[in-house]
């Protein structure tokens, strides 16, 4: 904790001094202290817009989770579903989902729904793939244990496969939640009248670079908060998850 903080401080110090020494205009690259001032002056605005983006990202992530986990279960449980949809899923992954954003906006409007949808679209893939990998990766011996004890398919899933996959699901969620923020901001870029993405565009248009950097800072904090939330859940489950990650 101390070393990264020191690193960050050194970086900011170089930035501050560099901008001064090289005489770079604040409209091009504002020094950190100016950005800090802007954050301070616009704290209320950043909080309001940040709250919008946070909700869009979080709802998008949750939607991806609620849809993605059952789809992964389906793919893993049924050979037919697997053969029919898994290649399709991988294929659609090569499609840049950013390109879908304008279309989603046409369908769902410029309100929150479209941002949630785009965030979910982006977060969906890692959740499905990691959950499927976790469910598939359940140790053959544990499955044999379930079989020798005459566990039903459902019991095997609930008591063996799902707990064994949980570390993978959480790993996928950590990636997904940061992607959800990106998805939400893209949605705001394409069309919106609130959120940090929108604030960033507005500040840019006004050449208020300090404000743009302030919005960027808020976005970074938001991403970290969401990541930390998932990592926190993972940490809480650590004794429960045990060594399964390596097994």
């Amino acid at each position: 904790m101390l070393l990264p903080a020191t690193g960050l401080f050194l970086l900011l110090a170089c930035w501050q001094i560099g901008v001064r020494v090289l005489g770079i205009s604040p409209a091009i690259l504002p020094p950190p202290l100016l950005v800090a001032r802007s954050v301070q002056d616009n704290a209320a605005l950043l909080a309001v817009e940040g709250w919008v983006t946070l909700r869009e990202s979080l709802y998008g992530f949750l939607l991806a989770f609620i849809v993605g986990v059952p789809i992964a279960v389906g793919i893993v449980s049924s050979r037919l579903l697997d053969r029919m949809f898994y290649p399709l899923l991988i294929a659609t992954q090569s499609l840049p989902k950013v390109a879908l954003a304008p279309i989603v906006l046409i369908w769902l409007g410029t309100g929150m729904e479209s941002k949630v949808a785009i965030a979910a679209l982006v977060a969906f893939f890692p959740i499905v793939v990691d959950t499927a990998a976790g469910l598939r990766g359940t140790s053959a011996e544990l499955l044999e244990l379930a079989r020798v004890n005459r566990a039903t398919q459902f019991q095997t899933f609930r008591k063996v496969r799902f707990p064994a996959a949980l570390p993978f699901i959480l790993a996928g969620s950590k990636v997904a939640v940061t992607l959800a923020v990106i998805g939400a901001v893209i949605g705001e870029f394409v069309g919106s009248d609130d959120g940090l993405g929108n604030l960033l565009l507005v500040a840019n248009a006004q050449l208020n670079t300090a404000m743009a950097f302030a919005a960027l800072t808020a976005l970074a904090v938001l991403g970290m908060v969401l990541y930390a939330a998932v990592a926190g859940i993972e940490m809480l489950l650590r004794p429960w998850l045990g060594e399964v990650r390596h097994g």
Binding site: S139, E141, L142, E144, L145, A146, R147, V148, N149, R150, A151, Q155, K159, V160, P163, A164, L166, P239, W240, L241, G242, E243, V244, G247
Partner: protein, 269 residues
């Protein structure tokens, strides 16, 4: 009188029968076909410990899995108490080569797993699980995760899990193979203790000659692929068996006999 005869024949009836069991993997007569087992015929007596002894890859695990109903035989079949095995049976306990514990469950919850599946995970079962864990000396670890245990302790948990539903037959696949020698000898005595307290019939897979002699009533020596019984050795060492047993002349004699059957001891050496 007819009742007396009936009960006498029941007593003589083997607990389980392996009837002409053969197993091949891969396409029949295909290029990559492996004949794992061939014409295995044997009656397992009630309450005895049968050791399946043979080199690695001779089909011991395959035979154990067929008895457990985890694998189907290509030819022949297995009967337990006169009933043909078609799938895993409720009153069988299985101990794997690795402890095979669920790392996310506590020791107690791991032992309770079979009872949960049977829908009998009540307080009585919990009490029994605690008793079993106390018997194997793990009372202090009941609420720990497997991660905190040594290899020998984990295998003791696995043993408790296999015994929790009071199975009439215990199937063990090289259960102590991964343990160090001292721990393994402790586990041997633990298994002998368990057998003294319950009349469980045991099928025990091993590739250790001394382990087979120390534990078994009957040793089936298997040949390398295709696996078949080349010799049956009756172990008449008296119970209780202890460290002293390992140094008796009879023990050495049986080891030599099994070694000869396996081809690792030259007959006239």
């Amino acid at each position: 009188m007819s009742a007396a005869i009936a009960s006498a024949t029941t007593a003589a009836e083997p607990f389980a029968r392996i009837l002409g069991v053969g197993k091949s993997f891969g396409e029949p007569r295909g290029r990559f076909q492996t004949i794992a087992l061939q014409a295995v015929e044997y009656d397992i007596a009630q309450g005895e410990l049968v050791a399946l002894l043979g080199p690695s890859g001779c089909g011991k695990t395959t035979l154990l899995n067929i008895i457990a109903g985890l694998t189907t035989a290509s030819v022949g079949h297995v009967e337990i108490r006169g009933r043909r095995v078609t799938g895993p049976a409720e009153d069988v306990g299985f101990v794997f080569q690795t402890p095979n514990l669920m790392p996310w469950r506590t020791v107690l919850a791991n032992v309770m797993f079979p009872m949960e599946i049977l829908g009998r995970a009540g307080p009585a079962a919990k009490a029994r699980a605690r008793d079993l864990l106390a018997m194997v000396g793990l009372s202090a670890f009941v609420d720990q995760r497997p991660m905190a245990l040594s290899g020998g302790m984990k295998q003791r948990v696995a043993l408790c899990r296999a015994l929790i539903h009071e199975p009439s037959m215990l199937l063990m696949d090289e259960p102590f193979g991964a343990l160090d020698e001292l721990t393994r000898m402790e586990m041997h005595d633990l298994l002998l203790d368990i057998r003294r307290m319950s009349a469980t019939t045991v099928v025990f897979v091993t590739h250790s000659i001394s382990e087979a002699v120390y534990l078994a009533d009957d040793i089936l020596v298997f040949s390398a692929r295709p696996g078949r019984i080349t010799q049956r050795i009756r172990v008449t060492l008296p119970y209780p068996r202890s460290a002293a047993t390992r140094y008796s002349a009879a023990f050495t004699q049986l080891e030599r006999q099994a070694g000869t059957a396996l081809g690792v001891v030259h007959p006239d050496a």
